[in-house]
């Protein structure tokens, strides 16, 4: 059952990624307004119809997927690297450095993530360009999301530091720097990969929440959260179910990212 779900998730993810990449070469863009087709129903020309400004919903959706699929991994990689650096150093060094790390990590973990995000995102200038807003949004996700993975990395680094083989290596004269590079980093690789995959769906969801609160990616670029935000003003969605496509993708994409890891935990 798990294998079947995992395979389906991987296929869906691949399809979403291919659609997002292929759409780069398709004519039309998410920002183009078709004034002859305002709020149009699905047709061969516009498979998901157009919005109230005459923009192609499918082009917008593909643009949103592209942004999420490109920047969520970048943010996850960034926060995993910070977690590796801070958590690894804290666990490896121990003592006051570890204590200081624990206090800072506890502060970050104690505050609800979304609250931190809206606070930090809201204090940035209001007149940032769309491209900057994308980078800032995902950079913030990367910067604020390090604490939880870093705690896991710290625990592992600490266990390695206290392990017998490290003790033996030190007794044989191996330096701390050499042990860090030759023993700690290779040993942390699997944990870091797992943390990266855990962060991915979380960042896609966080961006959606930010977008829905009006603090995500700004116009004219489109994000999945921003598209769902536009649905707030819609009422007759039963009569026009295709407008729910961004909400469906927003649940489907993180779910696929999540299910793609099924069975890995037990295997490791």
């Amino acid at each position: 059952m798990n294998r079947w779900i995992r395979r389906t998730a991987l296929v869906l993810l691949a399809l979403l990624a291919i659609a997002a990449v292929v759409s780069l070469w398709l004519p039309g863009s998410a920002a183009v307004q078709y004034r002859d087709a305002i709020d149009a129903v699905p047709s061969a020309r516009f498979p998901l119809g157009t919005d109230e400004l005459g923009r192609d919903r499918l082009a917008q959706l593909l643009c949103g997927i592209r942004i999420s699929f490109l920047l969520a991994p970048a943010a996850a990689l960034f926060s995993t690297l910070i977690a590796a650096l801070i958590g690894g150093t804290a666990g490896w060094c121990g003592g006051r450095i570890e204590w200081l790390f624990m206090v800072v990590a506890d502060v970050f973990v104690s505050l609800p993530w979304l609250f931190l995000l809206i606070t930090v995102r809201a204090i940035l200038p209001l007149d940032v360009s769309a491209a900057v807003s994308i980078v800032v949004t995902f950079l913030l996700l990367g910067i604020l999301g390090w604490a939880a993975p870093a705690r896991v990395v710290r625990a592992r680094a600490r266990a390695i530091r206290q392990s017998e083989y490290v003790l033996y290596a030190r007794a044989c004269g191996a330096g701390r720097a050499r042990l860090f590079v030759r023993q700690l980093i290779p040993d942390l690789r699997s944990i870091l990969a797992a943390q990266f995959w855990i962060c991915l769906p979380v960042y896609v969801i966080s961006e959606a929440n930010l977008g829905l609160l009006g603090l995500g990616v700004t116009d004219p670029l489109v994000s999945l959260g921003g598209m769902v935000r536009a649905l707030q003003s819609q009422t007759a969605f039963f009569a026009r179910p295709w407008i729910l496509a961004p909400a469906a993708v927003l649940v489907l994409a993180p779910a696929c990212l999540h299910f793609a890891r099924l069975g890995e935990d037990r295997a490791s």
Binding site: S110, T119, L213, G225
Partner: protein, 301 residues
Amino acid sequence: MKSGNRAADKQCVWLRFLSAQILRAVLITLIAGLFGAVLVRFSPGFDSDERDLDMRLSAATHRADARARAAEHDVLAFYVSWLGAAAHGEFGQSRSMNRPVRELLAERLPVTARLMAAGGLLGLMAGLLGAGIAVGRRSRIAENILGPGSGLLLSAPPAVTALLLLWLDYDPALAIAIAVCPYVFRYAFGLLRESASALHVTGGRARGVGEVRLFFSHILLPVAPQLASVATISAAVAFGAAIPVEVICDRAGVGQLAWQAALGRDMPVLVAVTLLITLMIVAVNAFSEVVLVMCSREPRT
């Protein structure tokens, strides 16, 4: 004599443990408050106020406003004076809403508390029940349905869930329950599965002990303290979900206040809300830690 000394030592260890928990909670809360104050102080537009453009206000009022803002320039001084006032129950005046922060919090706290209590409890019960069924039934079908189901719920952003529930005219507390439930399920399921795989459980089953008795006495009971600490996860997740739910469903709670304060760069409100949220979560964390340690009867020093 020896047993008296041992009891005194144990009491001392407990006291040290409890004071360390309290100290940690206070320290984290203070740092979080300072963090909020620093962020807002160095944000662009901190010095500007829309009241400056209000021609109906007199020059003296403008000067008073400027003086009040100048007092907030030194973030540390502002924070210390704010903490002093907060100790007397005075949290300052909201700049964007022009009302005392204490009043705003008193008005909105019950709304969030109701939403979080209803949604959090519902999510907690559903998660625990699901985990109990998945482990207690020992059926791959239950595990295979509930596991991916929780994964799917985990992938639904609370804002999207709130939007769907708003359209369907359901109570927004359900969105919080949907956010809390998968977290609780995963945590409880992991604990119960580990407990169920213990050798004495297999032995009991081989000797013909009934499944119900086996579940309650030998699977659930040993992990009950850890399951109690699941309340920590529920509180943090429930508040995280309360922000978008209150904003989207237009509920005048603390989550919506935090959002409005963040948008309006309202420093006194933001610092108060940051402290309040951190204090709440840290207190729940400390409580669950104490419960865990009390059950293991051995404080970690």
